[in-house]
């Protein structure tokens, strides 16, 4: 009991000092921390505790690929591809190209033509999804004897597209969120069809949602002339006017060919906010071609299937740049420019989960958590003192180091402190002394049974240790499962709890034992003070 190796002593003291040093910066006010940071070299700059969104305020948004939209986009692309192939092969069809929920179907006028197009259509599989090596085919191409050809997207194709859509979306979302100028956003994929976006300290979560919720698919299509084949026409809503407007189904120029988009003001006319855009070479060429051939017609600018405006083509526009006007406010023009610059999402994303905490509430939660921790710790400290006297002092010192260890662990792991995390720490304050109580009660018991002081102390520690290990392992298992299955704040709770359990062994057992050994050495008690 008395023999306590010097290295152990210094190891514990060193760990305690290190823990306090690691935690200290987090306790500073932000301005003091910045000052400290500016004076220290970067490798010595202490990290601070990362506060969860529930404490610092911010938005947590889970987006999910809209399957229906994804499928309809794929079907549309498929229809364009099929039309292109039919044109290239000069195959006449009877009726238009029909779309079903999962694909397109077309009837070739001369059944003999089927053989000309079928191989080409089958080749679409590769371009539809290049990465599927030997996997199930993303497309089914079948032809019935009466000349009807069906091309359908399979389940495998949808899953694959969905996964790719998430990957692309992450890039697009990152560009959009960065353009908002927020700090340290986190954008992660979740499962096959979800993206988790976390933006801490956001003042206006509405802008975030607005920017995330838009697909930003930009298309230029000609407004239909009266008397055009109805199967080639689509009726779309208009943003600034009541009623629908019929436009051709064929997309002349796509937003993908944009190289830049900037908000600006209309120089010639009203001076209202507009978005100026610029095309790449392919876009400029296509745009020039269409505008040259269709002078006098209306050219619709379509964003997410809504017509923003449909100006008349007065002269061919060959310079590769243009302007979108649509009675925008300055902010709307700005947001639209951000969306166009960042590119379109491959499919619509729906918000399936949103948790937004205002910065004020976050601060309130921190204050409440601190108050609870101080009061809880104070009560426990006093209670231990009045129950165990000098041994209570040791337990309280161990408790202090224990809490320092937990915070140091949080800092070093880069783990996030959440509100339930604070609750976990407060609970740990109550639980932490359990090990000391076990030891002390055992010491008392052994002493009452007639053992000498030294033998009682020794037996108390040795025997309680097995119990402490057993009981803490069970608690640790619960914490580990919470960590692996929980999400966000609950994870934070699990981390605090697990850290608390691990450090208990060091603080409550080894450290207390050391203090008692030192105390015994100097006090030479004749009677156990508990």
């Amino acid at each position: 009991m008395l023999r306590f190796s010097t290295w152990k002593f210094f190891a514990i003291v060193a760990m305690t000092v290190a823990a306090v040093l690691v935690v200290a910066p987090s306790m500073l006010s932000p301005s003091h921390y910045e000052e400290l940071k500016s004076r220290l070299p970067s490798w010595l700059t202490p990290p601070t505790i990362v506060l969860g969104l529930d404490l610092q305020g911010g938005s947590h948004v889970t987006l999910e690929v809209d399957q229906a939209d994804l499928i309809s986009t794929q079907v549309k692309n498929l229809r364009d591809d099929v039309r292109r192939i039919l044109r290239e092969e000069k195959v006449a069809i009877s009726g238009g190209i029909g779309t079903t929920t999962r694909g397109v179907q077309v009837r070739v006028a001369d059944p003999a033509d089927r053989e000309k197009v079928l191989p080409k259509l089958r080749l679409l599989r590769n371009s539809f999804s290049g990465a599927l090596l030997g996997g199930p085919s993303p497309l089914d191409v079948e032809a019935s004897p009466d000349g009807v050809i069906r091309v359908t997207v399979t389940d495998a194709g949808i899953t694959d597209k969905s996964r790719k859509a998430v990957e692309q979306s992450i890039e697009v979302i990152r560009r959009r969120v960065d353009a908002l100028g927020t700090r340290e956003p986190s954008i992660q994929r979740q499962g096959d069809d979800r993206v988790l976006v976390q933006v801490p300290g956001l003042q206006d979560p509405e802008t975030l949602k607005e920017i995330l919720g838009k697909t930003a698919k930009l298309e230029f299509r000609l407004v239909a002339d009266p008397g055009q084949n109805p199967s080639e026409i689509e009726e779309l809503d208009q943003v600034d006017q009541e009623g629908k407007l019929g436009v051709e189904k064929q997309v002349m120029v796509k937003g993908e060919d944009l190289t830049d988009a900037q908000p600006g003001f209309d120089q010639q006319r009203s001076g209202e906010p507009v978005v100026n855009f610029r095309f790449n070479i392919r876009g400029a060429q296509a745009f020039g071609e269409v505008t040259s051939k269709n002078v006098g017609r209306l050219f619709a600018i379509i964003l997410d299937n809504k017509i923003i405006s449909a100006p008349r083509i007065l002269t061919p526009i060959t310079g590769g740049s243009g302007q979108i006007s649509g009675r925008f406010t300055v902010e709307q023009a700005n947001n639209l420019a951000i969306l166009l610059r960042a590119g379109a999402l491959p499919a619509k994303l729906n918000i399936v989960e949103e948790r937004t905490v205002g910065p004020g509430l976050g601060q309130d939660s921190i204050d409440a958590g601190k108050r609870a921790a101080y009061v809880g710790a104070g009560l426990v400290v006093v209670y231990m003192l009045v129950t165990y006297g000098v041994f209570g002092v040791f337990a309280n010192l161990a408790l202090f180091v224990h809490i320092a260890f937990i915070f140091a662990g949080l800092v070093l792991l880069g783990s996030t402190l959440t509100l339930p995390g604070i609750a976990g720490i407060v609970l740990t304050i109550g639980m932490a002394v359990d090990s000391n109580v076990l030891i002390y009660e055992r010491i008392r018991e052994e002493n009452h049974a007639g053992r000498s002081i030294l033998a009682s102390l020794d037996a108390g520690f040795t025997r309680a240790f097995a119990t402490i290990v057993d009981s803490n392992v069970t608690m640790f298992v619960a914490a580990a499962i919470l960590y692996f299955l929980g999400s966000g704040p609950v994870r934070g709770f699990a981390v605090s709890l697990a850290l608390g359990i691990l450090t208990t062994i060091v603080t409550a057992v080894t450290m207390t034992r050391m203090m008692i050994a030192v105390w015994y050495h100097y006090a030479r008690p004749t009677k156990l003070p508990i």
Partner: protein
């Protein structure tokens, strides 16, 4: 210095005698808990039920719950729940899933913002869609089940099987009563409540293990003592620590209830109940189970039965003293490592 002692010293409560009361009592409570769960149900928060919670703070003055309710009903969002809490300027709005899916949910938040945004700040907005809430239910249930299985496995390896069964039955009991508690109080049940439940499971096992550890130790030490008496003796020995620890944890939890804020209040309240139940079950549910499961001491138990019949004839139920073997002089050479081998021996002995 006179030190405070909450637990009386050297107690000799015959805990095991209560098993004839505690088992029917706990069985009844468990049945009530199940009935409450089935018929009354839980107040599922939006994590599990899906829906929207918006926390508001009035820009000036106090929140007007009545006005908010009328406004909310005007928006036609289904059942809308308006509650005031804590600070008079604060209120929460809660409404369920909207027909029309995730898009409609977001649109509903917009409508609320439009209606109240002039007078209130939206301090917290949480929207959970139906698929997400389903997944949360699944992972929550899985978590509780997995943790019980994991702990059962650990105890099985570490102790005799009777201990593991006793501990799991005690844990299930605590779980049921906690669920019943959530049902009867209609505290909001959300993911944080799952954390509370898992912590209660952990604490319950922690308590049980402390008692079981002592029983196992005494089982080896007092081979001739009847099981019931030996268990009583073990519980009495750890009683001071049980009371001490429960008190410190309660102190911490009461601090959380009083000062921790609204969001974790239901967590803390549930934990308080859980600690209470866990302490009870480790003594009155788990330990007697060892007797029913026929834990060792056959010879001693036979003798005790004989003794019991003799004693019944007696008009005075004499308090039993633990005199079988002196407590004062346990052989000094029974440290922890020796225990493991004797544990194996105890295991292989025919039941």
């Amino acid at each position: 210095m006179k030190l405070l002692r909450l637990a009386p010293e050297n107690t000799k409560f015959p805990f095991m005698r209560f098993r004839r009361v505690s088992y029917p009592f706990s069985a009844l409570l468990s049945l009530i808990a199940v009935a409450l769960f089935v018929f009354k149900g839980m107040n599922f928060g939006i994590d599990f039920a899906g829906g929207t919670v918006i926390e508001l703070r009035a820009k000036s003055g106090a929140a007007e719950v009545g006005t908010l309710r009328t406004l909310g009903e005007g928006l036609q969002l289904g059942d809308i729940e308006v509650q005031a809490f804590g600070n008079p300027a604060d209120a929460t709005l809660r409404f369920g899933l909207q027909p029309g899916g995730d898009v409609a949910q977001q649109a509903a938040v917009e409508r609320v913002r439009g209606a109240v945004g002039g007078y209130y700040d939206l301090r917290r907005v949480e929207v959970v869609g139906p698929r997400v809430s389903n997944e949360l239910v699944q992972s929550g249930t899985l978590g509780v089940v997995l943790s019980i299985i994991a702990v059962l496995t650990y105890l099985w390896f570490r102790f005799e099987w009777q201990f593991a069964i006793g501990a799991v039955i005690a844990t299930m009991h605590d779980l049921l009563l906690t669920v019943g508690f959530f049902s009867i109080t209609q505290l909001e049940f959300n993911t944080t409540s799952i954390a509370a439940i898992l912590t209660i499971v952990g604490y319950s096992l922690n308590e049980t293990v402390v008692v079981l550890d002592r029983i196992r130790e005494n089982m080896r030490k007092y081979k001739k003592l009847p099981t019931a008496q030996m268990v009583d003796m073990s519980i009495n020995a750890v009683l001071p620590r049980t009371i001490m620890t429960a008190t410190t944890v309660m102190l911490a939890l009461f601090a959380l209830v009083a000062f921790g804020g609204q969001v974790i209040r239901s967590f803390s309240v549930a934990m308080i109940w859980g600690i209470f139940v866990a302490t009870y079950s480790s003594i009155f549910i788990c330990s007697p189970m060892l007797i029913y499961l026929g834990l060792r001491n056959e010879d001693a138990d036979k003798a005790a039965q004989k003794h019991e019949t003799e004693r019944k004839a007696d008009t005075v139920a004499a308090r039993e003293e633990f005199t079988e073997e002196p407590v004062s002089a346990p052989p000094k050479s029974t440290p922890a490592p020796a225990r493991k081998t004797s544990g194996k021996r105890a295991k292989t002995r025919p039941a």
